[in-house]
Symmetry: C2
């Protein structure tokens, strides 16, 4: 059997970012105000600091202003909610990214829900989850949204296909399954309590691995010709899929890195410009 074709997230994300930069420049010229993403960071977790810096750098390259709010680790939920409500009410801010995880003393859900749905460009609120689930207009969670774009780019139509999502987190597995269901896939959610993961994965025409366990999905469980999307990211650039064995069975597969990863930021920035365009239209 021949090797799977790679789904090149770096290339697609690059094109989306180019297009996003053009739209940002157009909007800035037309309105005199650049799209603005507020980034909110609580504490100094090194990985979170790096992620936020990366996102802000990408914003700058795309002509998106970023306004960074750094809060001390000891910030209370109430203080954080207050900050997020202020940003939600500020007409010069178009999108809000609250970097997570936050400290264990923070009620993350209360914080997310303080983000106005029309600025939820990271797709973390109840409202965004519901609009994704019901196929309604709204912002998507960035990684699941990026996965759908990758599938579209490679002409994978989920309709009528069996899709197996491994993982059920609130911003990755669950919304990924809902987006696939909205596109008419027959969707199965697997997770740590699934009795026979291999059997479930073997049924899949589309596998989305989103669980954060290195090389959990082995090639022997991939149905020949299946599309394999690896949204896992583990230490040492290792995904949730055992790439070397899976590439021999799949028809299409995302590499790690360079597959799903770059799509996340591209979706974030694209949605920030979407939010700014909508705000400009309504003002």
């Amino acid at each position: 059997m021949s090797q799977a074709r790679l789904m090149d997230g770096t290339a697609l994300a690059g094109r989306i970012l180019d297009e996003t930069a053009k739209r940002a420049a157009d909007l800035t010229e037309r309105t005199g105000q650049a799209p603005c993403l507020a980034t909110v960071l609580v504490g100094e977790d090194p990985a979170s600091v790096t992620y936020v810096r990366m996102k802000r750098n990408r914003c700058r390259k795309a002509g998106i202003e970023s306004r960074h709010v750094e809060l001390p680790a000891a910030t209370t939920t109430e203080e954080l909610v207050g900050t997020l409500r202020e940003l939600s009410a500020d007409p010069t801010v178009h999108g809000i990214l609250l970097q997570h995880p936050m400290g264990p003393h923070i009620d993350e859900r209360a914080a997310f829900e303080a983000i106005a749905p029309e600025k939820d460009v990271d797709g973390v609120t109840f409202a965004s989850f519901a609009t994704m689930s019901f196929g309604l207009p709204g912002f998507v969670s960035c990684t699941p949204g990026g996965i759908m774009r990758l599938l579209d780019e490679y002409d994978v139509d989920p309709a009528g296909k069996r899709a197996v999502v491994v993982g059920r987190s609130a911003i990755l597995g669950k919304p990924a399954g809902m987006l696939l269901l909205a596109r008419d896939a027959t969707v199965t959610y697997c997770h740590s309590r699934t009795a026979d993961l291999s059997a479930a994965v073997r049924e899949a025409d589309i596998v989305v691995a989103a669980v954060g366990r290195p090389r959990l999905i082995r090639g022997q469980d991939i149905k020949p010709g299946a599309v394999v999307v690896d949204a896992g990211y583990n230490a040492g650039n290792v995904g949730d899929v055992d790439f070397d064995s899976a590439v021999e069975r799949a028809s299409l597969i995302t590499p790690v890195p360079g597959g799903v990863g770059p799509m996340t930021i591209a979706t974030l920035l694209e949605q920030t410009v979407d939010a700014a365009v909508t705000a400009a239209r309504q003002s």
Copy 2:
């Protein structure tokens, strides 16, 4: 093979309603105010009129006050939203039921979202869908919530089991799957675009039929010993499951009528009292 045991929704709902009536009486005695469900009906669709009357009768029997708001068929979305916001703000109203479907000129989603989450005892808002999906405290959609109660009553633990939900409506199939997933089932959503429904159903340890197509699920597709929950209701007291053939293969099965149906109103009333108890605690 012996016949399946019946899951008696009428009996369980009766016990829940008795318990609910006791709690309602206690609360009324303690606070001087009975729990109150506002029922909102737009237009005069005969089925909707009947459903609302049935729900109000049950309220009365359980010692729950019901306040009925009848709006003409020509009511606009804005007017309906206004009414729902008033009820949401009214401290003497504890739960709100907006009977649907409404007319095609009504934006149903805008109407649902005008219901305060803490009064959404029918479980129709984005917030309720999200809390169900994320396993957080909140109100459940009444039919899916009733299904989970039936499973608990008959000692069916979904954890690690394969559950297949046939149907993906916003207040039945989708939340039923999410509640099963929150209880650690491996959940598959099937629907009209599923390529091989029989094959998917044959994998199921738990089948939830919630699609509104008479006798769509045949006994030959039921895995021997599976638990079959029929949430379908079609003309002539016919469910989505072909009962006569399914009862020969299942270990547990809900009859139609008398299975899932009675659980829906029981859940609605129970949640109304829950809402009133919470409101009393907070006032």
